[in-house]
């Protein structure tokens, strides 16, 4: 299972803008490097990151090889209601990882 760190405040006030930090382990092989034998190492990257909030998409990112290894994405969202934030990364070679975090909104 891919390693990932997700930081979401456990509690927030309704309407408050909260900051979400996500970091996932992935080499993000660009497809432009060569191995010792001079052969091109094929591209292998995360292509898409989607964050949903109680099932509604609130943030999406399309990643290209220029995103650094172990991709970091920090983005805001409005704390609208208590519930679950789900984070999904997908990419080349069937890569898929999911994390979730709960937020209590009062």
């Amino acid at each position: 299972m891919a390693r990932a760190i997700v930081q979401v405040p456990a509690q927030a006030k309704r309407g408050e803008i909260i900051e979400i930090k996500t970091l996932i382990g992935h080499t993000m092989e660009t497809g432009f490097r060569h191995n010792d034998r001079g052969e091109l190492i094929p591209r292998d990257i995360i292509r898409l990151f989607v964050c949903t909030y109680n099932g509604v998409e609130v943030f999406r990112a399309e990643l290209h090889p220029a995103v650094s290894a172990n991709p970091l994405l920090i983005f805001p969202t409005v704390a609208t209601e208590s519930g679950t934030l789900e984070f999904r990364w997908t990419g080349d070679n069937g890569f898929s990882a999911v994390r979730s975090a709960k937020v209590e909104v009062s």
């Binding site: 432009f32 010792d36 909030y53 609130v58 943030f59 999406r60 399309e62 970091l72 409005v78």
Partner: protein, 148 residues
Amino acid sequence: MISRRAFLAAAGGAALAAAGAPARATQAAVDEAVRALTGGAEVRKGRVKLDVPPLIDNGNAVAAVVSVDSPMTEADHVRSIHLFAPGNPLPVMLGVFLGPRAGRARITTRLRVADSQTLSAIAQLSDGSFWSDSVSVVVTIAACTEDR
């Protein structure tokens, strides 16, 4: 393995053509990428702020904060922000899609910058307009690595 610096050193040369990998995107590729986003609409400077260190410790991981001056309401918000690197093999680095649920148009990430160049960010607003910012960066090459 060809090191990043050997890769850059051969940029534009026959050796690189043989390797089959471009060191720098062509101007046509950059223009095409921007056109794919804007449909040829005007891109105005302003409202966007691309914050990248002018002098980079290592081109493998460049901290980038992009923000757009926008109320992020249903009526007036940022739909997307795209980052471009004309000096990289591929012109598009990242595209993020926001909307009023974001509350604020500001994202942070880390990017690979292949060589000293001018990076740019283009934001599309809910009214269909495009705004941009650009930053010139200098990439220094690390000493004492696996290759040299």
